[in-house]
Amino acid sequence: MSVLVYIENTDGQLKKSAFEVATYGKDIATQLNTEAIALSIGDISTDELSKLGAYGISKVYHVTNDDLKTFVNQAYASIVAAAAKQENASVVVLSNTFSGKGLAPRLATKLEAGIVSGAISLPTINGNTFEVQKTAFSNKAIATVVVDSAVKVITINPNSYTVKEVGGSAAVENFTAPVQSSDFSTVVKDIVRATDKISLPEAEIVVSAGRGMKGPENWAMIEELAEVLGAATACSKPVSDAGWRPHSEHVGQTGIVVSPNLYIAIGISGAIQHLAGVSSSKTIVVINKDPEAPFFKVADYGIVGDAFTIVPKLIEALKAHKGN
């Protein structure tokens, strides 16, 4: 028996979400009195993969070839399923990223495994039965899911599990990929990534703005605030619908759901659909000139006032804070 952790990489680098799933997998393995083994697909160095040892991973399998350099969910699912079978894994852990969402259900189907996506805490384990909590109804509820299939697949949201270094080292071994040509049913033609920007779903701090900013020409101060904080920028639905900002920045029920450590909402009233996308943020700051804005009801800190005077002052105060 073992716990298998699927590790994503971006351009050969392990991101925080990789260490999150490693930690989560190791914590389950400890409960099951077994080991956590990782699997990574695509181009990444042995040195980079061996970093996983410090998070409790005992062994890392690596598989790559020219066909596997880009994400193909069918082929990746075949490989992860083969590794799970070889290692007799009773649990497979993945990150609930965009790729994870394409991969995990295919994997679960191959393994006939019960799947919980977006788990928010460690399972409660009773023999073969796992109880796993996940958010439901767009963050308005927490559901406890019972899984008792022989193999379980669990995905965790980025930023929802605390990374723990436990020391230790991991051997990196090659894994032979049992894929067929029919597995390569989708072909990646192009990848467009804004490398200078922080990825919104994984950002630890998000600066988000709404219609209160009055127009796209006023976003310079939002971007400056984000830069000072090392934050990703986001916006409300009316703003992306109006074309002031790209859809990829729209946070909310029908946009991207985020759970950063700090979410700063500027000039956003807090419609229920927007709150569904942000309410699992650890700390929420709201800046709005309307003291009755519903967003204040779910905020930790608030400033009632005009964003156009407050944001520049906040930028100055943060710069001074960083300087200290």
Partner: protein, 246 residues
């Protein structure tokens, strides 16, 4: 082109979410149901791709009891040609995916669309499961979908950008914002929907693999701490010393 659009019947986005029977069941009392918003995007794109049903057909499928028929009729009013209801409660994604795959297997669709996820259980599982069960390619979070001949070009969301993916039909795609604008039914559509075919089929025997046994409400936040707009430093101090987030 034959398109199957998988529809989930979900509580309206503004519904108050409460639970009953010792917090083991969702309380449906007084809840208005709608087509899952992401599925509406899928439906709108399907209608566009078939030139409003003239160069192909759009079939909607849902797994649910008779109470879901109002939602199905809305999909027909928006422009689907016909509808199928698998007469069973949608117990989990595995159960639903197997029902849809069983129907799709018999009916050879060129394209199967789902929303990227449903707004009730947020699993984002059914589409990719259907694809795996049918041995078809799939793309889970599409921001754009174009079809030319038997080739699809999909823009897929990735962290911090997008990926352009090509695939040969038949194919399963989970649609997100950007693929199409949801369509509002007009009076003619609403009238036509009453007579469009809605067939009810019996479920195949499948055991669900997961079950929800309890719901709870996320812990409430404390009352908001208001900071005066002239003491911004106080906010910075609170974020640093109290919330420990900067």
């Amino acid at each position: 082109m034959k398109i199957l659009v998988c529809i989930s019947n979900v509580p309206d986005t503004t519904s108050k979410i409460t639970f009953t029977n010792n917090n083991s069941e969702f309380n449906t009392a007084g809840v208005q149901y709608i087509i899952n918003p992401y599925d509406e995007i899928a439906l709108a794109r399907a209608i566009e791709l078939t030139d409003a049903g003239t160069s192909g057909t759009v079939t909607v499928i849902t797994v649910g009891d008779a109470s879901t028929e109002a939602t199905i009729r809305k999909a027909l009013a928006i422009g689907a040609n016909d509808a199928v209801r698998v007469d069973a409660l949608p117990s989990d994604a595995w159960f639903v995916a197997n029902q849809i795959a069983a129907y799709a297997k018999k009916n050879n669709f060129d394209l199967i669309l789902t929303g990227r996820e449903s707004i009730d259980y947020n699993g984002a599982q059914v589409g990719a499961m259907v694809a795996e069960l049918l041995g078809l390619p799939s793309v889970s979070i599409a921001k754009g979908l174009a079809i030319e001949g038997n080739q699809a070009r999909i823009e897929r969301e990735i962290e911090g950008g997008k990926e352009v993916v090509s695939a040969t039909l038949p194919l399963v795609v989970g649609t997100a914002e950007g693929v199409a604008e949801p369509k509002i039914p007009n009076m003619r559509g609403i009238m036509a929907a009453r007579t469009k075919p809605l067939s009810v089929v019996q479920p195949i025997a499948v055991q669900p693999l997961t079950k929800i046994n309890n719901y709870s409400t996320p812990p409430a936040r404390g009352k908001v701490k208001l900071v005066d707009e002239n003491s911004i430093n106080e906010l910075v101090n609170l974020l640093h010393s109290e919330a420990k987030v900067i």
